[in-house]
Amino acid sequence: MNLRDPRTQMSWLLILIFSSAVFYQKDIFLFRNLIIATASAVFFDFLFLKIRKIELFPPAAAITTGVILSILMSPTLPVYELIISAGFAMFAKNFIKGVNRHTFNPAAFGALTTSLIFSHAVSWWAASFQSLSSIVFFLILVSPLLVSTIRLKRSMITVPFLFAYSLLMLVLNKIQILDSFFDPTVLFFALVMLPEPQTSPNKKGVQAAFGIFVATAAIIFSKILELDPLILALLTGNLLFYKVK
């Protein structure tokens, strides 16, 4: 695969994040989940492309989705749930779409759908421990900003989201701004999932609105629902901003 492709670069950085989590947990068998999720995503992507009678192409996006799912889904879940989440993710990528692009962030769709069906929370296990006090882990966690924020110029999504989220958490929940801003899960979400190019706006003004909307929606959802607020807010934002590219 082309190493200059941002999706390939993102995949490698995500694998690095996953690897750091395996190192932190001291359980090398966790790599099994990475392999299963990624292979499942590629399988289902190829399957659905065949069904759509589209020529197969290098599965860079599917690999990225698979790695994200392995980061999000608890390693204690049955393997079949990981496989099914990859199936739903690729279903969303291939079939829930408009003319040129899919509507929902595939990994978010797969994770939330599976959590609803099997009644478990999205874990974020591999993006939860990387506080500033563990600087190496932290730097690995935020390395995707080199791709999403700098290379793909998505800073107008990420930065407004982080500021809006942190401010709202302070005002509504009395959580210190820096605790929210540097929360590992929130950072991973803001740097990897939120600015996904296919499902986030391209225009600067709309990007900022998208980021602020998702932050606000996440806080509201967290107050009234027991579903993962970040994932649900992202999918809601994907839907509402779909036409506004």
């Binding site: 929370a121 005002v171 929940n173 606000t216 509201i220 607020p229």
Partner: protein
């Protein structure tokens, strides 16, 4: 169009903040003892009930606990690493703020008293796949 969307998003944020400022955010009564050693609840009844949950490498044990109203639950960290007890959902921890007991080191404990009936779910923020439920009757 872009300008209006940005303004709209900003108005939405202000509306939410305004709603929060003019509302009492009612939560369960907080009986939190986030210090490393177990601390008795300030409003403990003379015959207050107690229950224990151990956090090991495998997770919270028992994962599902059933108790009576007024019971104090103590979480003991035996996982070998720093852990937390935090309300669901991750990472906002907003459903039951009284369960945001903060970090506790290996060998230490945190406690909370459940004064209202209901089902409460929590997790270890540093390893969110470790989850638990307390059913209060």
């Amino acid at each position: 169009m872009n300008k209006y969307l940005t303004i709209g998003a900003g108005v939405l944020v202000l509306a939410v903040i305004g709603w929060a400022l003019f509302n009492n955010n009612a939560t369960n009564k907080v009986q939190v003892s986030p210090t490393p050693s177990a601390v008795a609840s300030p409003s403990a009844q003379p015959e207050a009930k107690e229950a224990k949950v151990n956090l090991t490498k495998a997770g919270f044990e028992p994962g599902a606990l059933k108790i009576k109203v007024g019971t104090k639950v103590t979480w003991m960290n035996k996982s070998g690493a720093t852990a937390t007890v935090n309300s669901d959902p991750h990472p906002t921890h907003t459903l039951w703020p009284f369960l945001n007991l903060g970090k506790f080191e290996d060998g230490s404990s945190v406690s909370a008293t459940f004064d209202s009936a209901g089902t409460y779910t929590y997790h270890n923020h540093l390893n969110p796949s470790q989850t638990g439920t307390v059913v209060v009757e």
